[in-house]
């Protein structure tokens, strides 16, 4: 019997996220009336309150914290690197324009995620690009080349999943969010996340079963 999934597989994102928030220390950003000394310990709330006064530098620190997640989530939806870059940057621009409406007592990313998701959906509608992601955009380690066909099939399967299932798969497997985080991001109960992931896995398992020796 296999052991439950080793949490170590998520270390990649943790390391990446640690790099994301490794900000230069002792920078001083001046808002219109407020001066906030920003270092890596600055809270998101402090930064957002300064950003709400129009301070782009403070907002820049928020962008740097979340740009990786924004980009990779967009890539999961829009299928190619350039479009993912454009859409994720558009989302940050849109968020800055609406920043005064944001309630700083709440976390930024779930609010931002909804803007990003809507832009991704608009992008897909506009471009009608429901085609499969080119495999070149999916990272494959050199020693795993023999698995190329399996992964290609798997990715095509992900593309064909109903939207909510695809969304939870992207958030879970490509950004390693916990169930609770996914529930907050998509604005649905944990039970829905649990069952959406289960059905997504069931569908995908059925598609790649022959490669993995399932009957």
């Amino acid at each position: 019997m296999n052991k439950p999934k080793d949490k170590g597989v998520y270390k990649g994102r943790k390391k990446e996220m640690a790099e994301e928030i490794a900000l230069p220390k002792d920078r001083v950003f001046s808002g219109e009336k407020v001066q906030v000394k920003v270092d890596r310990g600055s809270s998101e709330r402090e930064l957002l309150e300064v950003a709400q006064k129009g301070d782009k530098e403070a907002y820049g620190e928020i962008v740097k914290r979340y740009m990786h997640s924004a980009y990779y989530i967009a890539l999961g939806f829009v299928h190619n690197q350039q479009d993912a870059l454009d859409v994720s940057q558009d989302a940050f621009i849109k968020a800055f324009r609406k920043i005064k409406m944001f309630d700083t007592s709440k976390p930024f990313f779930p609010w931002f995620y909804r803007l990003l998701k809507n832009l991704c959906i608009d992008h897909l509608k506009r471009k009608s690009r429901m085609r499969a992601i080119p495999l070149e955009d999916v990272h494959i380690l050199a020693e795993e080349k023999k698995d190329r066909e399996l992964k290609e099939t798997l990715w095509k399967g992900i593309e064909k999943l109903p939207f909510v299932q695809r969304e939870v798969v992207i958030l879970r497997y490509f950004r390693q969010f916990s169930y609770a985080e996914i529930a907050e991001l998509i604005g649905k109960p944990i039970g829905t996340v649990m069952s959406s992931l289960f059905y997504a896995k069931k569908n995908l398992k059925g598609i790649v079963g022959k490669y993995l020796g399932f009957e």
Partner: protein
């Protein structure tokens, strides 16, 4: 406990998202159910493959210029707004001067003056109407703060 429910729990178990009480229940069930044990093993293999799927990282430079690209676009927006306001002022001022010139020019026949002024008047009314509609729709949109 039905197998379907256990299979759902197995998915969360493997993801490390199950509470100890449910975990214990799944463990107990697995000891006596071959069908669910098979599901557990398959799900484990599947997770291994999924765990290795990841997107190719973009060039390092992408991250270096990511924020500056956004910053420049935010800055440029102010430029575009100023340009648009300036353009509108020039357009209206030019239009006003043109109308004044046409009215005062004795060499232009009365009928032609009426025609030109009607065209210009129509353009102004259409522009104002469009502008008003945009403002009205924005103000009355009940769900404008809701991201659909």
């Amino acid at each position: 406990m039905d197998h379907q429910k256990i299979k759902e729990l197995i998915s969360s178990y493997i993801d490390g998202e199950l509470h100890s009480r449910d975990k214990q229940m799944v463990d107990e069930h697995l000891k006596q159910c071959a069908e669910c044990r098979k599901e557990f093993e398959e799900m484990g293999k599947f997770e291994e493959v999924m765990g290795k799927m990841q997107f190719k990282k973009p060039q390092k430079e992408v991250w270096e210029v990511y924020w500056s690209t956004i910053y420049n676009r935010l800055e440029r927006r102010i430029g575009w707004i100023l340009l648009s306001i300036g353009g509108m002022i020039l357009l209206f001022f030019g239009g006003y001067k043109a109308v004044e010139g046409i009215i005062q020019d004795p060499s232009i026949s009365f009928l032609l003056k009426i025609g030109i002024l009607a065209v210009l008047g129509g353009v102004v009314i259409l522009l104002v109407s469009l502008l008003r509609e945009q403002i009205f729709v924005h103000k009355r949109e009940r769900y404008k703060e809701v991201e659909k």
